[in-house]
Symmetry: C2
Subunit: 342 residues, 2 copies
DNA sequence: TTGAAAGCGCTAACAT
DNA sequence: ATGTTAGCGCTTTCAA
């Protein structure tokens, strides 16, 4: 494998000249550049990323810390859409994307990536109150952007939805359709995103003089199967809900499968609203009313903020809220005026 | 940031001793190890990946070359399931996963990753006849595994499905249900996976004395929208198909949306069989009959083969076929004996 | 069992 | 405009 020395020898210049040509320095004559480039090409030279990184202390890569609950993430289309936004921006700026999965010890992984200089910055995917990884990253002043918002006052950049507001509006939508017994089908209850959404849900209830009922709030794992089980539990209640707000479309799908198996007609006997508006929401039966959170945009902005931090070396944090919108389809009953609610 | 020298100084040993402790060399006394480890911990030392890599020429990362048609991939659940298999194995073996997206010049990206020593090996996602990237990787003798099979006789390891056989069986299934006019809804026609599946489809037709009709084979882009458009085209034919084999579930979903919009009843007026059996196939309406290809397993095996290549330094190639199975649900009509076909 | 020293391939002062 | 030199942080002979 050709090194910079080989190229220098062939082009009859010094290694530093080659290095300058590589960086397209303006202080090198065109003639020399030509000769060096020819040698570069002839030897099929490719710079060694290690050697370069050792000197420059940059990697040209951004890391994504996949949480231990990773499989849920990977397989959830919402993650894929987010990733595709991240990846798009990374590519435009010439960055690679390094996925790092933490078996358990997330802090160890962060150190490995950050301090081990494997990436120039890091994207964090989920957080919960007391999150130690967040604190660690902030302490280290490592370039980082969180998807979501920090639960505690940690100085970190983030990109988030207005989750409280979004859940509030979605719940209100169901209330306006006449529902009084509304269930909440959420993912892991300690996650900030779940906390925010459940809070929005509750405040809409309270506003309508409906007392939030803890039994109406089930939290499960972020998978289709989780939605299935959660819905079974909700429907098993003596006074079962007539409508359910799911914190994720995949949960909603699982819930719909459960309801369909039990013979509930949707939306007439059970209205459902999901979250995230994945592409398949439109294809469900009935088509799923869902809160569009613009995952792709979240990915794009997160990556942009991160790369900006990396390239400018800025250390102060910056955050951004992406607005959401309720996409009304058939599963909520708004398009079924003939509904027959109690 | 503490270096190995700082640790050495604190522990009152030489840098090489520290290095040996890091590698857990057996020739270091327990007492020294203890002292060094203490210093390591006290300084919160983390090895610099560049410096180490420069010496060892290894990265502890595997690369995935995302094709230019990347967005299709990312957002397709089948890719996510595959990735989750890859990622699982990578984590177990302590490897990171580097995603590299090629704007256009895939060969350049391969060189950057492989020769630039950013990854220890590479996973290739799709291929077509005359694929130059494949040839390049094989020439370089770089550790690599292809998802699919090489179209040309290139010495490369791969993990594939029995696509010809699978499409043959799926088509035969439709023929046995009484269909004679069967359409094929595929992705990019130049991809090997499409070629294999269309061949299996044709041979089942031929076997049943049905002449393959090129107009019955539409190829489109690998997205829901592609399926939608392709199906519109098939249904617009004077003698439209009564059944369609789609080369991907997402295409099938798009096709089903088109058919539903036009008022076709499925499976009675139009039977559909998909490919890949993504999790949502079960949730479609009607639930989608699909060829299960075990994407997760493909990912696991691809990663295992690659890491084996990397760790053993073996250079000879190895390939593996993952069996498929037809999962019969409602969209093909096999569960609707009351169907009324011509 | 440990240390000294060389060198991986590159960049970046500093010199010229 | 180009060359010389030092050094990034680590591993690995070679010596002791």
């Amino acid at each position: 494998m050709a090194t910079i020395k080989d190229v220098a020898r062939l082009a009859q210049v010094s290694p530093s000249t080659v290095s300058r040509v590589l960086a397209n320095s303006s202080r090198i004559s065109e003639e020399t550049k030509r000769r060096v480039r020819e040698a570069l090409h002839q030897l099929d030279y490719h710079p060694n990323a290690f050697a370069r990184g050792l000197v420059t202390n940059t990697t040209g890569a951004i890391g994504i810390l996949i949480p231990p609950s990773m499989n849920e993430f990977f397989v959830n289309p919402f993650f894929a859409e987010w990733m595709s936004g991240v990846s798009e921006v990374a590519r435009e700026h010439g960055f690679d994307t390094v996925l790092s999965t933490s078996a358990r010890d997330e802090e160890e992984v962060v150190d490995r990536m950050v301090r081990g200089r494997r990436v120039d910055g890091i994207l964090l995917l989920e957080t919960r109150p007391g999150d130690r990884v967040l604190r660690l990253v902030a302490e280290r002043q490592f370039p980082a952007v969180l998807l979501g918002r920090p639960a505690d006052p940690v100085p970190i950049s983030y990109v988030n939805n207005d989750n409280v507001e979004a859940a509030y509006r979605a719940t209100q939508h169901l209330i306006r359709l006449g529902h009084r017994r509304i269930g909440f089908l959420g993912g892991a209850s300690e996650l900030v995103v779940t906390i925010d959404r459940v809070n929005g849900y509750r405040s809409a209830l309270v506003e309508a003089d409906i007392a939030p009922d803890p039994r109406m709030e089930v939290s499960s794992f972020f998978l289709e199967q989780g939605g299935y089980l959660g819905m079974m539990r909700l429907l098993a209640m003596p006074e079962r809900p007539t409508a359910v707000l799911a914190s994720d479309d995949i949960l909603a799908f699982g819930g719909m499968r459960a309801a369909a198996e039990l013979g509930f007609r949707m939306p007439e006997e059970l209205a459902i609203v999901g979250f995230n508006d994945i592409r398949l929401a439109e294809l469900a039966n009935p088509s799923l009313t869902s809160v569009r959170v613009h995952m792709h945009r979240l990915g794009v902005r997160a990556a942009e903020l991160l790369i900006e931090q990396i390239e400018t070396g800025r250390t102060h944090t910056k955050s951004e809220i992406i607005e959401t919108e309720l996409i009304v389809r058939n599963s909520c009953g708004a398009n079924t005026p003939s509904q027959n609610l109690v």
